[in-house]
């Protein structure tokens, strides 16, 4: 946890983000997104939200209400690699559940999803598994995004291979679904 404590977004970064968007419409959401982006573990920590609240004079509770409303905001540290499985109807029909089951083999993952969590991060912060309501890539179902790149017609074998690659080596070229 210490590494995460130390990785909190520092206030000069937040100041810079705020000043860049000052007065622009929907300032709050954009600023929150960029603060999250600036954080090493891609999440909004409570200090950052408190600092943001006092800087832009938006009540902290409102920031929290917004952060919990939109699925892009993370309130917990995220893994280095993200795997997002689409659970839209087309993907669901074409077997996205099986892909999610494959990913659920990660220790603790199944328990997290069963208890109603919408995302799971491995203990070592290597992988975060999430679902998305629909990627809008229904013609290419099932669809999975790995580190922001969307892959179509994904198979169970590909997912298993990816997990293995992630565990065994971290070479970038192996962190793809292909």
């Amino acid at each position: 946890m210490n590494a995460i404590e130390e990785s909190r977004v520092n206030t000069t970064v937040i100041d810079e983000i705020i000043s860049r968007h000052k007065g622009k419409p929907g300032e709050l959401l954009t600023v929150m997104e960029e603060i999250q982006e600036a954080s090493e573990y891609k999440f909004l920590d409570d200090d950052a939200m408190e600092y943001l609240s006092s800087s832009i004079k938006v009540p902290l509770s409102q920031i929290y209400g917004v952060a919990t409303f939109y699925s892009f905001f993370n309130l917990k540290p995220q893994g280095k690699n993200s795997i997002i499985v689409c659970r839209g109807t087309a993907c669901h029909t074409k077997g996205s559940k099986i892909l999610l089951d494959d990913l659920s083999l990660l220790p603790g993952c199944k328990e997290a999803f069963d208890s109603g969590e919408s995302s799971f991060t491995t203990e070592d912060k290597l992988i975060t598994v999430k679902t998305v309501a629909c990627f809008g890539q229904c013609a290419l179902a099932p669809v999975v995004a790995v580190n922001g790149v969307i892959y179509s017609n994904v198979t169970s074998e590909q997912i298993k291979k990816l997990l293995q690659n992630l565990k065994e080596d971290n070479k970038d070229e192996n962190l793809r679904l292909s």
């Binding site: 300032e27 997104e33 409102q62 939109y70 109807t89 029909t93 919408s118 229904c138 013609a139």
Partner: protein, 400 residues
Amino acid sequence: MGEGQKMSTSHLLKRADFIFKSDNDWEDVLKKNLNRTANELINELISSELKGRGGAGFPTGLKWKISSEIKADEKFVICNADEGEPGTFKDREILSRVPFKVLTAIAVCAYVIGAKKGFIYLRGEYFFLKDNLQSAIDEFERYCRKIGFDFSISIFMGSGAYICGEETALFESMEGKRGEPRNKPPFPSSSGYMNKPTVINNVETLAHTYTIFKYGSKRFYDLGVQFSRGTKLFSVSGDTPKPGIYELELGMSLVDFVEEFGDDDTKAVQVGGASGFLVPRKRFPETTIGFQGRLVGISLPTGGSMMLFNSSRSMYNVLDNYLNFFAEESCGQCTPCRVGCQQLLKGIKAVKRGEKNAAYLDKLLKLAETMTYTAKCGLGQSVANSFSSIVENFREEMIY
């Protein structure tokens, strides 16, 4: 109904090619139309009978007219690209393939109503479109400056909430708040983003206005059938050999559609995404795709999602997926949508497990009706559609 029977109510599947035609003449179209009067443009739109392509089907010309007639120090045009309906991916294609048509349409709308500022509310999941779209905007704005038209467009990225496709939720989101739909009235035309008169149109609707402004309203009006004029993009997915996006004339029969896109084993088609209706095979002949008017048979408005299911699919699973989606994605402020979705979802599970008897489905159907009548926003009013149409047509699958 007497009048309707005489008319042609549906036609064979007719493909069209307006929207994706790369005609690279946006500069001319823009310049030409900025030289017309606002009234001319509004009348052009009204006589085309174009209706909103996001799903609700409000006449676009009327929408522009109302906003144009309201006096205000500031007005806005917003292009709704928060395409979140599962099974819909047409707006993504439009913005990536013909962004200038949409930008031109936004600018013409701004000219008509007297706005200086336009926005594209881009669904967060479409982040990969952003850079190209921004360069298109840069080029577009350069041209506007060149011809002396004072107008700018910004992209606003959504942050991942289905409900923000609802126009007033979208405004709330743009104002930095939770995307919770507002009470209507007031309507966006008079009080929208920042409580200023706002025209908000779906990406596809705007793309169609380009067609109309380019070719004139008659060309558009002559396509389709009464009450459902013009063409429409359909996002075809599910059990089909050719998933993808197709521009088709409105008013087609579902029989013809399935003939073209089915895999010869089509059991049902979900029209309009998760918030739309499921049409079982036995009702394909009486179903036409268009806006509700005095057409014979069932006419279904649609945001353009057509998802085909073949006989290997369990409709229970499909419904379970839809209801899970809504239970999560309801904004949660109004009772019928927030609690209703949970009751429908947990209800079908309880029936499936035998914890509730089959007649419980009838209670839930009545509840679904109440949800439709009483929910606060358009999305809340349609969340139970899939439930009702699936349970009514595939009751046995819910029970066994």
